[in-house]
């Protein structure tokens, strides 16, 4: 039996355990704890898992199950974190404890939402005015936000928002208002509003090379 552990994220307090379709064919997700912090893991036979679309989806599904079904805060790990033993993993939990605690405080009770605004091909739109309008509507509601890469020249805006669960509805409404706002060439714009996600964009925990 393998002793390698694939990590989804870090929880505080009670361990999480359930059966599911997990990464790399595992069927059980459970928790390895060091004091109050616990790493949610499944068994895996490698420390260098290949990123397939299916496994990336499973990684995300496990995080969502914990956040949505169990309403627990989890500091999400990016896809692909795998450790060679429980001992190395506990060392990481111990070493990065202050960082995990800080991240936990930031994300507790909050979800991540994403907004991309795409212009029609060759459409001439006022990027700055659109950005200002979006900021006016959304920034007051969001707890935090970060800009993301404009990886296509069709993208006018690409931002992630960290939003309190209780402000979700207000945020949805604000996005709908923006989408219907005729002042901003909305015929030439397509909105892509996504989420909720585990708050990947708002945790910045570096895990050392001691995997």
């Amino acid at each position: 039996m393998t002793s390698n552990r694939y990590v989804y994220g870090i929880v505080d307090g009670d361990p999480v355990e359930f059966e599911t379709d997990a990464v790399a064919g595992a069927d059980q997700v459970y928790t390895i704890s060091h004091r109050r912090l616990g790493a949610v893991v499944s068994d895996i036979d490698t420390t260098d898992p290949e990123e397939t679309d299916e496994d990336a989806q499973r990684h995300d599904d496990v995080l969502r199950e914990i956040m949505d079904e169990r309403e627990r805060a989890i500091v999400p790990m990016q896809f692909g974190m795998s450790f060679e033993s429980d001992r190395t993993l506990k060392n990481v939990l111990r070493g990065a404890r202050p960082a995990f605690r800080r991240a936990m405080n930031d994300i507790e009770g909050r979800i991540e939402l994403g907004l991309k605004i795409v212009r029609e091909e060759d459409a001439d739109v006022d990027d700055e005015a659109i950005e200002a309008a979006v900021d006016d509507e959304l920034e007051p509601i969001a707890a935090q936000s970060v800009p993301n890469d404009l990886f296509s020249d069709r993208l006018v805006l690409n931002r992630s928002y960290l939003v309190d669960r209780e402000d979700r509805e207000a945020f949805d409404e604000a996005v709908a208002r923006l989408e219907g706002d005729e002042a901003h060439d909305h015929e030439d714009l397509t909105f892509r509003y996504t989420g909720p996600f585990a708050p990947y964009s708002f945790v910045d925990v570096e895990i050392g090379a001691q995997r």
């Binding site: 991309k116 795409v118 990886f151 296509s152 069709r154 993208l155 397509t190 892509r192």
Partner: protein, 84 residues
């Protein structure tokens, strides 16, 4: 004469080498390919690209990215030879 030849020759090899590396970098622009992969996904998500077209392009781009990664690994390890 050997010393002189060598000194004269060396800078030219250096320039050719650099130009070759630059050309390879441009031809196998990993970042541009990755951006295009993300754009392909986005255009599919907003309904501008059909599923068939999206999958076809995704496969093409992933294959190109794999080649580009290999070229970059070889470049950084100096295993790409300059042939004239």
């Amino acid at each position: 004469m050997f010393v002189l030849d060598d000194l004269l020759f060396r800078p030219i090899v250096g320039i050719v080498d650099t130009l070759h590396t630059m050309a390879l970098n441009e031809l196998y622009d990993l970042e541009a390919l990755e951006d295009e992969l993300k754009e392909n996904q986005l255009l599919y998500e907003i309904g501008e690209r059909s599923e068939e077209e999206y999958r076809r392009r995704k496969e093409e781009l992933e294959a190109e990215i794999e080649i580009a990664q290999e070229v970059h690994e070889r470049l950084s390890s100096g295993r790409v030879e300059v042939k004239s």
